[in-house]
């Protein structure tokens, strides 16, 4: 990283110290494939956050990809939708910042693609070395296309890619065979990374990044240009889930290599620029630390649910409920096998699974139906489709089951506990933090252990009730929604610069003259 840009990237602030700010911070919420365009857990969390903290001034910038249309969430009045970049679309490149007359003719940055490839895909690279190139993208968006059409850019890119492919150390093996066509595809991806960095953002006091991924690129630029602090809120772990998806895919080795290396690079960059990393569970902290986040910059803020009233008694109808989209990460195949194993021991059991088939997972949804037929589950396992009342459907359950192979701090578990229902779950992510003493756990994919646990609770409803009541008390004590909101309120106010530090006037937007600072 050059000394010039190193000086531009401020040192991380101490999140625990506070800054005495008295004004309401302006928060730029950067989302990716979620709020407000796509329904899902992170989107629900974002909606809860912006509605639950109306005193903050919110602006939302959304990254989308694929066939995603208009927003599906209605934004409350305190929230402005300030931008959207549809990746791999054909959106117009933004105008360069500053008045038209003041712009000077800039030459193409022919090393840009090489810098991005080495910065993000190199195993041992310094992710902050990339920031200077990203800042250039923001300052010279009008040069991006011509830079990437420049034959010299391609030349430097191929040299850098060759270095990445031949570089290895003890933690990474040799790169797989890599063909020219994939190099061409990667070049276009690199263009879109530059394009994401070039996207102008509105003036704000804090960037709240919701994934250690593409949406952190504008935040990295804003931090370098304006010293705007960055808070990363991690739900699932982007890098971990990318590796999981790659492991489960039948893609060639080179494709897996690219997707995982890119995810790793983006995560390392996000961790490097984040002043505070706020995972939903301490369990995620291990990965964050392993990828370079100092322990003192990690502040876990668990999800929360509304304060529950008195729970309804369990129906004692031997009903097992599960909630979650039909997605390989939820491992619905294991759930179906668990159902088959439980039915052999408890013939009158009924499983009800609530959750949609998300876009892009239609094949997985079909495979679940095929396995359902193959196991001859019939009416004993019902796919109920999406539900708008995930908490309410927990009331139908005697036992709530979750078989995910990756989770952050799952809302469905909290919702079950809030309704005093015992949970049988795989031991992944922050599940143990949530369910401790209020359910039974098993290793992921362990059909027998999961089936044993479900059977135990079905045949011993008193034990189930006892665990459920414990969970209910646990939610009341630890996982209230207000507690989660207060955590973010304190964190964002602490990280935002004090009005005394920055002056009363609005900070300049990155599209205006301030971009040159």
């Amino acid at each position: 990283m050059s000394a010039q840009v190193a000086a531009q990237v401020p040192a991380p602030v101490d999140a625990t110290a506070g800054n005495g700010a008295t004004g309401a911070p302006r928060v730029l919420l950067l989302t990716e494939g979620t709020y407000p365009h796509v329904v899902g857990g992170v989107s629900t969390w974002c909606d809860l956050l912006v509605r639950g903290l109306p005193d903050l001034q919110w602006a939302v910038f959304a990254f989308t990809a694929g066939d995603v249309g208009e927003p599906v969430f209605e934004l409350p009045p305190q929230v402005r939708a300030t931008g959207r970049l549809h990746l791999w679309g054909t959106a117009r490149v933004p105008r360069p910042p500053g008045p038209r007359r003041a712009r000077t003719r800039t030459r193409n940055r022919v090393h840009l693609a090489a810098e991005i490839v080495e910065g993000l895909l190199g195993w041992s690279s310094d992710p902050l070395a990339l920031v200077e190139g990203l800042v250039w993208c923001r300052l010279h968006p009008d040069r991006l296309v011509s830079t990437f059409r420049d034959e010299d850019t391609w030349h430097h890119y191929t040299v850098a890619l060759a270095r990445v492919l031949t570089g290895a150390d003890g933690s990474s093996g040799p790169a797989p065979a890599f063909d020219l066509s994939r190099a061409v595809d990667l070049y276009q991806t690199v263009y879109w990374l530059a394009r994401a960095a070039a996207e102008p953002t509105p003036s704000a006091d804090v960037s709240l990044v919701t994934a250690a991924a593409w949406c952190s690129l504008p935040a990295a630029v804003d931090k370098a240009l304006h010293g705007r602090p960055v808070v990363l809120s991690e739900h699932g772990l982007y890098v971990r889930e990318s590796y999981l998806a790659a492991v489960r895919s039948s893609d060639p080795a080179a494709a897996r290599f690219l997707t995982t290396r890119l995810a790793r690079g983006l995560s390392r960059l996000t961790y490097a620029i984040a002043d505070v990393v706020a995972p939903v569970t301490e369990a995620n902290a291990a990965w964050e630390e392993a990828l370079g986040v100092a322990r003192e910059r990690i502040v876990a803020i668990p999800n929360g649910v509304p304060v529950p009233g008195d729970p309804r008694p369990a129906p004692r109808s031997r009903t097992v409920v599960s909630v979650g989209r039909l997605d390989p990460l939820k491992d619905v195949h294991t759930m179906l096998r668990v159902a088959a194993a439980v039915r052999r021991r408890v013939p009158d059991v009924t499983f009800r699974h609530y959750g949609p088939v998300p876009q892009g997972q239609e094949a997985y949804g079909d495979s679940c139906l095929a396995l359902h037929r193959e196991l001859d589950l019939g009416a004993s396992f019902e796919f109920m489709g999406a539900t708008t009342d995930p908490t309410g459907v927990m009331g139908e359950a005697d036992v709530v089951l979750m078989t995910s192979i990756s989770e952050g701090f799952p809302m469905s578990v909290l919702e079950a506990l809030s309704q005093a229902r015992p949970v049988v779950t795989t031991l992944v992510g922050g599940v143990l933090d949530a369910v401790r003493g209020a359910g039974l756990t098993a290793p992921p994919g362990d059909v027998h252990a999961l089936a044993d646990a479900v059977t135990t609770l079905l045949v011993d409803p008193d034990l189930a009730e006892q665990l459920g009541e414990r969970g209910h008390r646990r939610v009341l004590r630890l996982f209230g929604q207000q507690r989660c909101l207060d955590g973010y309120d304190v964190l964002l106010r602490a990280v935002a610069p004090s009005p005394l530090d920055v002056g009363p006037a609005d900070l300049p937007t990155t599209t205006a003259a301030g971009a040159g600072r």
Binding site: V145, T153, L427
Partner: protein, 435 residues
């Protein structure tokens, strides 16, 4: 759970069916299927990744996604029907509205139509969901509809003044209808309208009917397409494409040897050979997305200086050019044989066919460069061709006395030689930089 690095390595290999790519991949396997927490899995995974293992397989085959071939046959039928139908209007229109205004209408409408067609192809029709994108771009769709309806009204009130616009609507609308896959029924309707004229329907009424039918067909084509949320190509890029298309079309209106109303074998008929040649050449160029990509996919990155894929790309370009020239020449000869008896002069007809064939060459070269985002080169080719054609037409071109369009084609080919050679010399770079 306590396991040794060797046991962990075995667990990871069993889970993956291969060696892990790196420590993080080993870690997710140990967590997701090994029952380890992240705190245990991550350090263990580093040791797993450090355990010596055989190197990755040397090669792999990559599935290449083929580009869906356009419905070329239907498209050609539709476009030819549109051309022939409008050709049939010429003599009656010249009688009804005057030869001068008819010729002027054609000279105005041709470049505008080609410019709009190139613009639409670049902005919307880049893949199968193009019409859906046009539907979603409501401003353009609504503006186009209003303008088209105004043309219908204008044809009722001032047919002579509105004729160029009517031609533009017919030719551009015809493209959209055939892209929708309705080329054959649309062609049948046009031929029926032409036949109606032979049965005594006034030509202005016939034009009005065809324009109305085209507007309705375009509206139906767009409305029946599912909307696409994918953004169209940005305006500046699309407008440049339209400008290049319009400039190449100027060639055939600046050439004074191409007359647009007095010849009985109307020049539009002479456009058919190069249109067919262009379609065949374009079809062949689609091999870039199958054959060339397959060649690149089977070339190791380390062998990127290999000449193999260069030869593949070169063959595709030369093959496309050869198809353009061969088919255009063959159909031109056939056209000559069919219509020379009704031509004013055989030599004039031959020169016309040669000129429009050369126009096809200029269009092919400009389109090739434009499609690979070599916009400056494409623009230079188009402008040089027009300037040379104009110079040849005015007798100010030194050297052999070539027909203007032939001179333009030679100039365009010479100018395009270097940029096309650059394209071919490194196909991977060409495909990567066509952003």
């Amino acid at each position: 759970m306590r396991i040794t690095p060797e046991q962990a390595a075995a667990r990871v290999r069993a889970g993956l069916g291969r060696d892990p790519q790196d420590a993080l991949e080993a870690s997710v396997v140990l967590e997701a299927w090994g029952g380890l927490t992240a705190r245990s899995a991550l350090p263990l995974a580093r040791q797993v990744a450090a355990i010596p293992r055989p190197s990755s397989p040397a090669g792999f085959s990559r599935r290449v996604t083929g580009v869906v071939q356009s419905e070329s046959t239907r498209e050609v039928l539709g476009l030819i029907a549109t051309l022939l139908a409008t050709t049939a209007w010429v003599a009656p229109l010249a009688t009804a509205l005057g030869a001068g205004s008819t010729e002027r209408a054609w000279k105005i409408a041709l470049p505008i139509s080609l410019a709009v067609q190139w613009f639409l192809r670049r902005r919307y029709l880049t893949d199968a969901r193009g019409l859906g994108r046009l539907r979603t771009d409501r401003g353009v769709a609504a503006g186009g509809t209003v303008l088209s309806l105004l043309v219908v009204v204008a044809m009722l009130l001032q047919p002579a003044a509105a004729l160029p616009a009517a031609l533009v609507v017919t030719w551009v609308g015809g493209l959209l209808v055939v892209v929708r896959g309705w080329g054959i029924p649309y062609a049948a309707c046009l031929l029926a309208a032409t036949a109606a004229m032979g049965l005594g329907l006034p030509v202005v009424t016939d034009v009005l009917l065809v324009v109305t039918l085209t507007v309705a067909a375009v509206a139906a084509a767009i409305v029946t397409c599912p909307p696409s949320s994918l953004a169209p190509t940005p305006w500046p890029r699309s407008l440049v494409a339209g400008a290049i298309g319009g400039t190449t079309a100027l060639l055939i209106v600046v050439d004074p040897t191409v007359e647009w109303s007095s010849w009985r074998p109307f020049p539009v008929i002479a456009l058919v050979p190069c249109l067919l040649g262009t379609v065949w050449a374009s079809r062949h160029l689609n091999r870039i997305w199958t054959v060339l990509l397959a060649a690149l996919a089977s070339t190791d990155f380390g062998d990127r200086s290999s000449r193999r894929h260069r030869r593949v790309f070169g063959r595709i370009i030369v093959g496309a050019f050869g198809r353009l020239v061969l088919l255009t020449a063959a159909v031109s000869v056939l056209t000559y044989a069919l219509v020379h008896s009704v031509a004013t002069s055989g030599r004039g007809l031959a020169l016309l066919l040669l000129g429009l064939g050369c126009f096809g060459v200029v269009g092919f070269v400009a389109a090739l460069l434009e499609s690979f985002s070599r916009l400056l080169a494409a623009g230079v080719v188009a402008v040089v061709a027009v300037v040379v054609a104009a110079a040849a037409a005015s007798g100010r071109l030194p050297g052999p006395d070539l027909p203007p369009l032939a001179a333009a084609a030679v100039a365009a080919a010479v100018v395009a030689l270097w940029p096309v050679a650059r394209l071919v010399s490194q196909p991977d770079r060409t495909l990567a930089t066509m952003i």
